[in-house]
């Protein structure tokens, strides 16, 4: 671009572009406020102000020393505020800082291009943290502003119309959308080339450990945990939908933990049970387990089924993860238990003992010496005694909390009941464990999928029954059957319900206008996840082979090229053959038609000729009576130049012109 540089003005940044770049900076950095340390956002803001002052001539560009100092202190700041080495957050922090500093020091067009490319990069990094529909729409707007700045760079310095640049950038990007869709659908999706630093854990959901209060906190959140599309309609029975995720089988220091994966293969006895196929779109959890109904019969190849029926992936789930599976609700598993397993699932460490519970359970077991009867006895105590189901239970002591819950406070949340139940089992030597997951979900009537939200988080018990294997027991069902049968909102007192997030269907109910709108939003987001965010290699293959049959690289490439060329051709049509805007005045339209026809027949209007003179010339040359020509030209001029005369003469005039062109046609042949 030597020629450009020589042009003098070519190397400066037009004002228009500068203003747009400042707006673009704010637009692309703003969403990062969620992930980055606040000081980086402040630095960006200060840099923006600094550049504005430089532009106004009230301050100076940073000197070389200040620039070096800024870069060094910025890097040190990033290192200090990043907790886990060179993480993705640290990388993005550096990128955003570089972007802000470059904005301050940029002088030439080349610098401006660097800033613009960095801005696109900052947009891309935001998608590593968040790929929701609204974020995508927002970033599309941000990309428009960045592109508008690039347009401004190529406009004359005298042009100060930023909105015109924004409009141009908008149409440019909108016209690029069809081609984008083609590329998105056809561009081959390959597996990752190498391992990359991953975003830190800011996902919410079930954790590796649970203490009784944890799940109650989750119920404050209405964010989506996952969505499920069943192959043939959603099962209507709410209480079948126990989404199993993590198995808490280690009691340690009063807390339940997910133990190590036991060796061996899962032992499942399918029996004659029906299989239920479905697809799950799991939102990022930062954990490596998947959720599914018991008992998994078929599973996505990217996950491994452990003997305790956890479905584990190799890496934590950091973006929407889409998987297919099938479950056999009636199947048995773990019918024969190995000795180490039995020991592991009955172990209670000494420091976690609850002596009153131990004594109570031993006595109860003596009168009910069978696992199932013992469990039933425990549940009937919950039913008969004044136990409460509440999200806001009274505080419990850290050690021996099961005793104080079971005998004193008697009010708690699902995890309280489940942990007390499992503890009681283990204390009499029955293998039992706590299972964390979600219960139920909300059927979206618009698209028929099931939405499971964080407030559906639930904990229940699994007890090993001799000859039958592991059986699910949900002690919460004993205290609050509505929770198990209808969902959280039904089980809560009106006071508790107030603490739920306002904008959920659990709070609103389904019938209200707002409730329907919430379903609609959910539907849109679900489709977004299904077809955009969740569009990976597998989905692509299925989609393309449905349309193209057998997928050979040549076929896919050819179709992509053909469709891409079609998109570009359509855009070209739009750009180059835009029709001349039709006049709304019937007289003008009639006259234009006449001129077009006359010129086809060899009568071109001379540059200086008035419409009247032209019509007169044409009329005379085809031998129309002079007084008729006179009448026509008079009424034409009247109609064109006298606004009040128009409505009266328009119709008559159009007919006159039409007659004249008919005469002309005959004369020409």
């Amino acid at each position: 671009m030597a020629a450009e540089d020589r042009a003098g003005i070519g190397s400066q940044i037009p004002r228009n572009a500068l203003a747009l770049l400042m707006v673009a900076q704010a637009a692309v950095v703003l969403p990062h406020a969620m992930q980055l340390s606040p000081w980086i956002i402040i630095v960006c803001f200060v840099c923006g102000c600094w550049r504005t002052l430089v532009y106004q001539g009230r301050w100076d560009f940073p000197s070389r020393i200040i620039k070096a100092a800024l870069v060094v202190s910025g890097s040190i700041g990033v290192i200090l505020s990043s907790s886990n080495g060179f993480s993705l957050e640290a990388f993005v922090s550096l990128l955003v800082l570089a972007f802000a500093f470059k904005l301050v020091e940029m002088k030439s067009r080349r610098d401006a291009y660097v800033v613009i490319f960095l801005a696109y990069f900052v947009v891309a990094t935001e998608f590593l943290f968040e790929q929701g529909l609204f974020v995508a729409l927002y970033e599309f707007l941000a990309v428009i502003i960045v592109t508008a700045a690039m347009v401004g760079l190529n406009q004359m310095h005298t042009r100060v119309r930023p909105m015109a640049s924004v409009r141009l950038a908008t149409s440019l990007l909108l016209q690029a959308l069809p081609l984008t869709v083609v590329l998105f659908l056809f561009f081959p999706r390959v597996m990752p080339l190498w391992n990359v630093p991953v975003p830190g854990n800011n996902a919410i959901g079930l954790q590796e450990e649970v203490s009784p209060g944890d799940l109650a906190e989750l119920t404050q959140s209405d964010s989506v945990a996952f969505r499920v599309v069943f192959d043939d309609g959603t099962p209507v029975l709410y209480k079948q939908l126990y989404w199993r995720g993590v198995v808490y089988n280690v009691l340690e220091d009063g807390r339940w933990k997910a133990g190590d994966v036991p060796p061996g293969q899962p032992r499942i006895r399918m029996g004659a049970s029906r299989q239920l196929g479905y697809e799950v779109l799991l939102e990022p959890t930062a954990q490596n387990w998947l959720y599914g109904l018991a008992v998994p019969a078929q599973l996505d190849a990217r996950a491994k089924l452990t003997p305790d029926l956890r479905m584990l992936t190799r890496d934590p789930i950091l973006s929407v993860f889409r998987y297919r599976m099938a479950s056999a609700p009636g199947a048995d598993f773990g019918v024969r238990l190995t000795e180490p397993e039995a020991q592991h699932e009955t172990y209670i460490p000494e420091d976690s003992r609850n002596p009153r519970m131990d004594g109570y359970a031993r006595k109860l077991y003596l009168s009910n010496p069978d696992t199932e009867r013992f469990a039933e006895a425990l549940l009937s105590r919950i039913r008969s005694q004044p136990y409460h189901y509440t999200l806001n239970p009274p505080a419990l002591p850290r050690s021996g909390y099961i005793d104080s819950f079971w005998f004193d406070t008697q009010s708690g949340f699902c995890s309280h009941y489940a942990s007390a139940f499992v503890y009681a089992m283990r204390s009499v030597g029955i293998p039992a464990r706590m299972v964390g997951g979600y219960l139920g979900g909300e059927l979206n009537p618009l698209s028929g999928h099931l939405v499971v939200r964080q407030y559906d988080a639930h904990a229940w018990a699994e007890v090993w029954v001799k000859g039958k294997g592991w059986r699910r027991y949900d002690p919460t069902g004993a205290v609050a059957p509505e929770r198990v049968e209808q969902g959280l909102a039904a089980a809560l007192s009106s006071q508790d319900r107030q603490s739920l997030s306002a904008l959920t269907n659990a709070r609103m109910g389904d019938t209200s206008m707002l409730g329907r709108m919430l379903y609609m939003f959910d539907s849109v987001e679900h489709n977004w996840n299904m077809f955009v965010v969740g569009f990976d290699g597998g989905v692509q293959e299925k989609f393309l082979s449905r349309w193209l049959g057998e997928l050979t690289p040549a076929r896919v490439g050819l179709v992509m090229l053909a469709l891409g060329a079609l998109c570009l051709a359509l855009t070209a049509l739009l750009l180059f053959f835009r029709r001349r805007p039709k006049s709304r005045d019937p007289v003008v339209r009639a006259y234009r038609r006449f001129v077009a026809r006359a010129s086809r027949l060899g009568f071109a209007q001379e540059p200086g000729e008035t419409p009247g003179a032209f019509v007169a010339r044409v009329g005379e040359s085809v031998g129309v009576e002079p007084d008729q020509v006179q009448a026509l030209t008079t009424s034409l001029e009247e109609a064109l130049y006298n606004p009040e005369a128009r409505p009266k003469t328009a119709h008559e005039l159009s007919r006159g012109l039409r007659r004249l062109s008919v005469r002309l046609t005959f004369a020409a042949h």
Binding site: M1, A124, E139, T147, M150, N154, L172, F184, F187, G534
Partner: protein
């Protein structure tokens, strides 16, 4: 293949593709388009985004990369459209002197409707000028070329280019508008022969009290120059008879600028003659030109038009 041969080939290609004409309308047959260096960097940047998207398996990063790539493709149409339909005409070319800038005016007319931005014009090796076509339908762009030697100046093909709208692509064309301008010799004004050297028989009296030719003797009147007093006759007449000699200056009314009358080699002589012609015109003198070697004899004349004829002969001497 040497660069010279390549350039020649390219010239021939252009000659066939865009033949010289005084008015050229740009269309897909004569506009070229190619990414700029920034455009290639942008392409590399998109490739980087795609690699990132693959490694993070992030659909929306793919989406962004594809959007930017598609935008680059659509920009091809936009950049081309920015030049397409423009009509270029040579409006005027003004002669100049060696060492000065010679001005060519090029009229750029766009079709009615959408405005054009960022259209730049320039001769090879000169500064680009922007045509203001955003709000106006036509603009006259003045382009300057340094006149390096006398004679016809052919500025070569005119470059019309645009980087609009994104600066990632450059659409350009080279048109030959048959533009040429005369470059006059660089005038020399120093040590020119004096014009006041005509003879009495064909000159006109320009100064009755001149100093060149003796005319007659007359009685002294007050105001006559002292140095013209004939002191000898004054002494002889014992101081009664104070007489003065009268001289007059005559100038040839029709000045002849003759190649043979001036000093130096051919170029120097032409430069001097140019200087003389300019001075004569400034002083409103009638003058003619004689270039014997070229069989040129321009009858004396006066005024700007005559000056132009004379300068033209001087510029084209021997060419």
């Amino acid at each position: 293949m040497s660069e010279g041969v390549l350039n020649e080939r390219f010239e021939q290609f252009l000659e066939r593709r865009i033949p010289p004409s005084s008015s050229i309308t740009l269309s897909q047959s004569n506009v070229f388009i190619f990414p700029t260096k920034t455009g290639f960097v942008f392409g590399f940047f998109i490739a980087l985004l795609i690699i990132g998207a693959i490694n993070y398996q992030a659909s929306l990063v793919f989406g962004l990369a594809f959007l930017l790539g598609a935008m680059l493709m659509v920009t091809i149409l936009y950049t081309f459209r920015n030049l397409s339909g423009l009509r270029l005409e040579l409006a005027e070319s003004r002669p100049g002197f060696v060492g000065e800038d010679v001005q060519f005016s090029v009229r750029v007319v766009r079709p009615s409707g959408r405005g054009r931005e960022g259209v730049q014009l320039g001769w090879p090796g000169s500064i680009r000028q922007w045509a203001e076509l955003a709000d106006k339908e036509a603009d006259v762009v003045r382009l300057y070329v340094r006149g390096s030697h006398r004679g016809w100046l052919d500025p070569g093909r005119l470059l019309i280019e645009t980087y609009y709208p994104l600066g990632l692509l450059r659409a350009w064309t080279w048109v030959d508008l048959n533009a040429r301008a005369l470059v006059y010799p660089k005038p020399i004004f120093e040590n020119l022969p004096r014009f006041t050297s005509g003879r009495r028989d064909e000159g006109v009296l320009v100064d009755p009290l001149g100093s060149d030719d003796f005319t007659d003797i007359k009685a002294y009147t007050r105001g006559d120059p002292i140095k013209h007093v004939i002191w000898r006759s004054y002494a002889r007449s014992d101081g009664r008879d104070l007489q003065v000699k009268r001289f007059t200056s005559y100038q040839e009314p029709r000045l002849w600028l003759r190649f043979d009358d001036v000093q130096g080699d051919t170029e120097a002589r032409l430069q001097r003659l140019t200087g003389m012609a300019l001075r004569a015109t400034r002083e409103d003198r009638e003058f003619g030109l004689e270039l014997p070697a070229m069989n040129v004899r321009l009858q004396p004349g006066i005024g700007e038009a005559h000056l132009e004829t004379v300068l033209r002969e001087l510029a084209l001497y021997g060419r």
